[in-house]
Amino acid sequence: MFDRRIVIAAVAAMTLSAVPAAAQTEIQWWHAMTGANNDVVVKLAEEFNASQREFRVVPTYKGSYPDTMNAGIAAFRANNAPHILQVFEVGTATMMAARGAIKPVYQLMAEANEPFDPKAYLPAVAGYYSTSRGEMLSFPFNSSSSVMWYNKDAFRRAGLNPDQPPKTWPDLFEAAKRLRAAGFDKCGFSSAWITWLNLEQFSVWHNVPLASRANGIDGFDTELRFNSPLHVRHLQNLVELQRDNTFSYSGRTNTGEGRFTSGECPIMLTSSGFYGNVRANAKFEWANAPMPYYPDVAGAPQNSTLGGASLWVMGGKSAAEYRGVARFLTFLSSVERQAKLHTDSGYLPITTAAYEQVKASGFYRANPYLETPILELTNKPPTENSRGLRLGNMVQMRDVWAEEMEAALNGQKTAQAALDAAVSRGNVMLRQFERTVSR
């Protein structure tokens, strides 16, 4: 039986929460965060709601990144979009092009008289979500980059130095061969997010264009450029190493990441956001290191670019609601909050001040793995080829690229033919996108 006092307390609590607080304005926030990151989202909303009385942020989980984005688009078409929509980095161009559907963040902050300085953000972060004129369109929320995770125990077993991870691709191939010989015969090394790591970040890290017009940032008339000799050489290497499992393909998304934590693949290239998972599940000594590069490419390594997601403010809401959204974004950018978000979730601190503060606290001496992606992002000042990526229809285009890479890896096509096909099929999609936005 229930304790009567508990029942009374519960009823009292319900009655209290049912009484509307003095006409609060609700701010809907749709997101795609699960598990520990969902807790972070809920906690942020609770903290903000407790910090003031005028606005109430209501976070709602809407499924995976593509699902959340589609839900937001469908809601906009039905005239009930949320105020804030979390969209992953590859949806950026689609959101930016939807001029009437979004409220640019720089405009929102100016109209609400909230202090806002785009220069406070790490350049690699701000650049990704800003126009070529430096106007920030969305608010960076959870950013990651891609790194190389490796199994130190496996390195020892193969006679490799666990404190000297491979720096270049040739070194990595060599290490993977030795690991394979030492008993990792199903997988010497692998990569999640095959296109993000081996086409997108690969281009940026080597300072070669993935696409023209600064990877699409300078205009929708961008054309793909990743069938260059360097790209073909890299894919060719993967194809050859795939034959004896020195490289082993793990699929298009991150579903294959478990091969690292289970100990099957001693080296895994994937997002820095893999951190929480590795910490919880790996039964061996592990570390991460920057992505490898080809040493004969001039200027490599350049800098990496972002993964993760940003917050878009949807259009067509009232001034009062926008004031609330602006207040919430200011709340999110505070240095302490950014620092805490970073140390709690493993996502990157997005402001320079937050990063400096975490660094000064000595946090990275105990957790060097959380600093690797930041060092990659800030390795060099961004160039034309490394400011970010902004290609329309990117979500589906990634699938098209992955299809062609798969055709090379399973021997249906040569590396050159596969990348040529990926470029020409991708260009068709870019032209279709350009057509719908330029009218």
Binding site: C187, A402, T436
Partner: protein, 293 residues
Amino acid sequence: MEKRVIFDGKLLPYALLLPQLLVTLIFFYWPAAQTVWQSFLIQDAFGLSTEFVWLENYTTLFANPDYYRSMLTTLVFSGLVAGFSLAIALMLAVQADKQIKGASAYKTFLIWPYAVAPAVAGVLWLFMFQPSLGLVAQAIRSLGFEWNPLLNSNHAMTLVVMAATWKQISYNFLFFLAGLQSIPKSVIEAAAIDGARPARRFWTIIFPLLSPTTFFLLVVNIVYVFFDTFGIIDATTGGGPAKGTETLVYKLFSDGRLGGDLGGSAAQSVILMILVIGLTAIQFRYVERKVQY
């Protein structure tokens, strides 16, 4: 001299039909009409800019070699899934129809998978056959067979066919079982007394008498493989590797959902609708002649 009951009044029959008609109109004809309209437009994902382009979405589609490949993949996939799920379900139904201990438990277990959502079914099979973590995959690999659905199209196709078949067996089983139970026992007993062996009894008596059920299931299964399998494909292979398991309905789903290409996706819907209506018509016209009601 046939006796017929004739009701007066025009209103009552229509009033009785009205709810069903409304449901059909609202949930079928209205969306179908919208799809046809959408297929003449090119729109951005947000619906901010719309251009009326007549048949351009269709011409783009038919100029795309991938679309024909996807048709071929669909044929292979549908043939395999419909064939296997009908054959296996019939076999199981015949076994479950026998006088055995625990028959009702078997029947319950066989019907269960029908309650599983397509995406969940896909994930279940994915877990079993995932090259590195899957239990079944590990068993296959330990036998020295290189099982890799991530890169080998045939392996991937095997995987989606298994998952889609497994999901449909229950439904077919249910109908076959009902069909078998409605066959008069006396006919079969008479044949047995005449000395017909079980196999002969099955092919000369049971199977022909089951033909209405079989025909109905054939139509339903074709519709199922053409329309209802994208969830399974999405969860297991995502249409890969290199389009190896991209059926028409999956292509439509991914173009519309991931690509935001509503016009192209709507055009594919219309074509798929025409295809399935055509197939169903053919079945009723030619296959139904073989059915003995």
